[in-house]
């Protein structure tokens, strides 16, 4: 059986299991991966199924730890207190609110190069503010997801470029300007597009009526300590990378959670962790399933077939291929897309400035974090605002995603001109 047929059968089996039999996405992916192994003559391929799922081991740990952290912020009253503070500051200032929110969301992504980190830290803080000021839940989630993706692309740390750079021996130097050219206009346009119409300017008494209970008077600045711990440790992992011990993002979130135990309202820590695990489980199972699916897809030749098929597009369609394939492959993960497709595409465009090409490709690959079934940025943003159906969030991400895509492709096309100014 050819690689293409096996791959298409795997996709078909997944679709039947997930959409017709309504099995959980993670389980459907795992079963379709197993079917792919059998169809490809690889038997049960137990080692490959387990090995593939370990591709997301780090991500799974980050999600679990971040979920616990989020629950701690909620249970201790820290989240409500911060929401109250932000509402009091911004209830009459629409534009400053939106721009501040966008910068806040982007900031952890800029420092860590991870959209997940952005959604699960500052995204959690701004969501209640946006919702209380009139933005619908799903639009708030869309704004958080898009901000997180822009943060991941923005300098100083763009892991996607680093991954592509490693594949073509391009040092991570001179990327600040091209990345800012891509990100700054988009951050402005997307925050206004998603928020300006719906965010209301409200009166003082209205603001008071929606103000959540703040426990600041009881605990003072101690309340902010868990956030300070997480942000300082994350920042120092990047800014002081040469002297800071690498404890990893999961450990940072766990430390922040433990600090949270002593900084706000008392709560039952074990119960909180159980709730966090329960809520995170569907996403975690999807990641495990995707890992299995990708490994079997590679094992049976499907990945290579897909990559060469995109690269075989005629030159006039190359940009279309980039625009479609990189976000699509992002369903594996944006990092996977950068590695598997980003490197061949940089090489296919080798006559252009590699720094500009890599910057633009990283923006396009970043869209992969909206692509189901993994959709790391989108799924987490949905989780943050309590929306179970991610597709409702995705609906509002489509136009901003096209903005990003057009800018990315535009920069690729205009690379020879930009090259003269950079």
């Amino acid at each position: 059986m050819s690689e293409a047929v096996i791959f298409l059968l795997m996709v078909g089996i997944f679709a039947i299991l997930a959409m017709i039999l309504k099995l959980p996405i993670g389980v459907s992916l795992a079963i379709s991966a197993l079917a792919g192994a059998l169809l490809g003559g690889k038997g049960l391929a137990l080692r490959h199924l387990v090995e593939g799922s370990f591709g997301y081991f780090e991500t799974i740990l980050i999600i679990l730890a971040a979920m616990i952290f989020m629950k701690v912020l909620q249970a201790s009253g820290i989240l409500d207190s911060i929401t109250a503070l932000m509402l009091k500051t911004f209830y009459r200032k629409k534009l400053p609110l939106l721009l501040t929110v966008m910068v806040l969301i982007m900031f952890p992504g800029m420092i860590t190069g991870s959209s997940t980190a952005a959604v699960l830290t500052t995204g959690v803080l701004v969501a209640p503010v946006l919702i209380r000021l009139g933005l619908s839940k799903v639009k708030a989630a869309a704004l958080i997801a898009m901000g997180a993706i822009l943060g991941m692309i923005a300098p100083p740390v763009n892991i996607l470029v680093m991954i592509m750079g490693a594949g073509v021996d391009m040092p991570y130097v001179g990327l600040t300007l091209p990345l800012l050219i891509i990100v700054v206009p988009l951050a402005l346009v997307i925050s206004l597009w998603l928020g300006y119409k719906d965010i209301k300017i409200i009166r003082y008494d209205e603001m008071k009526s929606i103000l959540p209970e703040s426990v600041f008077s009881l605990f003072g600045f101690r309340l902010y300590l868990p956030l300070v711990v997480v942000l300082v440790l994350m920042l120092s992992q990047s800014l002081l990378a040469d002297i800071m011990p690498d404890i990893g993002i999961p450990a940072i979130f766990m430390l922040g959670s433990l600090v949270g135990l002593f900084c706000g309202r008392p709560f039952h820590f074990l119960k909180i962790t159980q709730e966090a695990v329960k809520e995170a489980m569907p996403i975690l199972s999807i990641l495990v399933g995707v890992g299995m699916f990708i490994q079997i897809m590679t094992l049976t030749g499907g990945r290579g077939w897909a990559v060469i098929s995109f690269l075989s597009l005629p030159p006039v369609l190359l940009y279309l291929g980039i625009g479609i394939s990189m976000p699509l492959f992002g369903a594996v993960s944006a990092y996977g897309s950068a590695s598997i497709l980003g490197v061949p595409f940089i090489l296919a465009l080798i006559n252009k400035n590699a720094i500009i090409t890599a910057s633009a490709l990283s923006a396009i690959a970043g869209l992969g974090d909206l692509m189901p079934p993994t959709a790391l940025a989108g799924m987490f943003a949905a989780q943050v605002i309590g929306e179970k159906n991610y597709f409702k969030v995705l609906r509002y991400c489509i136009v901003p995603a096209f903005f990003l895509l057009f800018v990315g492709i535009g920069v690729l096309l205009l690379a020879p001109i930009l090259d003269k100014f950079i």
């Binding site: 090995e51 740390v157 490994q295 094992l299 030749g301 990559v307 590695s339 598997i340 061949p344 296919a348």
Partner: protein, 374 residues
């Protein structure tokens, strides 16, 4: 027992079975293939003899030393810096099993990153081993990962600032060829790099060669990458190889690409630093079905298509680029480097006897030069 409890119990049992059988398969990666050194081996050491900080760690590895009766130059050869680049590793093994040195000294480390041989990359679907036919039956060799095993070095930081000060993505902290000149008290990979620097220093290596492979779509391929202190040697080597009909090119080590062997060996250890690249389809991004056959015969229809599209930096046709061709290329380059060193510095002569003939290897294969399993 309630129904949901029974379901939970069954699922736990299933998970335990999966852990057991998959775990057993993963653990086989810790098994090392046999290497049968030539009777002319002078001494076998370990990297930890040069840097005790590696002792009893998965980063420790065998160092084979061949010393001639006559004084001469000293050559260090590294295979297995990236354990998913088999031509470098197999070339080093071939040398260990065949070499006789009558003048000078040759030091060979076949498994430079031993830890990388102990796992395979998730989502790459690679085989855990491949076999080569010898007159006495097949012999198996490990196919590992480009990076140190995360079991031995974890977690990866978000950003990695390597010992030479270059900022890289976090996973590169497990890439030996981004970790030079190493750190004495650093991560495992940095300690391995540090140990290799100690080998170069202690043995006073005049020439150090890092054997690699790259995907055919990678621009630096079929190449000699040289530190500026080896420019003349690289040029002489190129001429020798061209006269022998070996198509190869020179690439100067970029000064701003830090942490790599061809840069830091030259800058810090002052040895003549050279890195050799051949084309390996089995770790390319366009590869078809990963398999032991792909590693050995290097045939892949995706790469044929890529060649037709002009996406490759090496010629590629239906014959593929086999392991024996790649090993032969490494052997020819090593021979030419040693001869070039002698030509430029007669006092640094290294006399390699019993070096497998590159043309013969290409003709009859690698197997006849390997010692049959004992």
């Amino acid at each position: 027992m309630k129904k949901h409890q029974a379901t939970a119990f069954l699922l736990l049992l299933l998970a335990a079975l999966v852990c057991f059988f998959a775990g057993r398969e993963f653990l086989t990666m810790h098994e090392e293939e046999a290497v049968y050194p030539s009777p002319h081996l002078t001494i076998k050491k370990r990297l930890s003899d040069y840097f005790p900080g590696l002792k009893n760690s998965p980063g420790d590895s065998s160092v084979y030393i061949f010393e001639g009766q006559k004084m001469g130059g000293t050559l260090l050869i590294l295979g297995g810096t990236h354990p998913n680049e088999p031509a470098g590793f197999i070339t080093a093994v071939l040398l260990v099993e065949n070499l006789e040195v009558t003048q000078g000294k040759v030091i060979i480390v076949p498994r430079a990153n031993n830890s990388g041989f102990m796992h395979s990359d998730p989502q790459e679907g690679n085989p855990q081993r491949y076999s080569l036919s010898t007159p006495g039956g097949p012999r198996w060799f490990r196919y590992g990962s480009r990076l140190t095993n995360p079991i031995h070095q974890w977690p990866d930081s978000v950003l990695y600032v390597n010992p030479a000060g270059q900022k890289l993505s976090g996973t590169e902290s497990r890439n030996l060829n981004r970790s030079y000149p190493g750190r004495k008290h650093g991560k495992l990979t940095e300690k391995i790099a540090y140990a290799i620097m100690q080998v170069i220093d202690n043995e006073k290596a005049d020439l150090a060669v890092d054997l690699h492979e790259a995907a055919p779509e990678y621009p630096v391929i079929n190449a000699i990458v040289f530190h500026e202190n080896s420019a003349e040697l690289a040029a002489v080597t190129l001429m020798t190889l061209q006269m022998e009909g070996v198509d190869i090119r020179l690439e100067a080590s970029p000064p701003n690409l830090r942490g790599l062997s061809h840069r830091e060996w030259g800058d810090f250890a002052k040895t003549r630093a050279v890195l050799l690249e051949t084309a390996n389809t089995s770790h390319g991004r366009l590869k078809g079905r990963p398999s032991a056959t792909l590693i050995i015969n290097g045939k892949d229809k995706n790469y044929m298509k890529a060649a037709q599209l002009g996406l490759l930096f090496v010629p590629f046709d239906e014959d593929g680029i086999s392991l024996k061709q790649r090993v032969s290329r490494h052997l020819a380059s090593l021979r030419a480097l040693v001869s070039g060193l002698h030509e430029l510095h007669p006092d640094l002569c290294i006399q390699l006897d019993n070096l497998p003939n590159p043309i013969e290897v290409q003709k009859v294969g690698i197997g006849p030069y390997l010692t049959p399993s004992k």
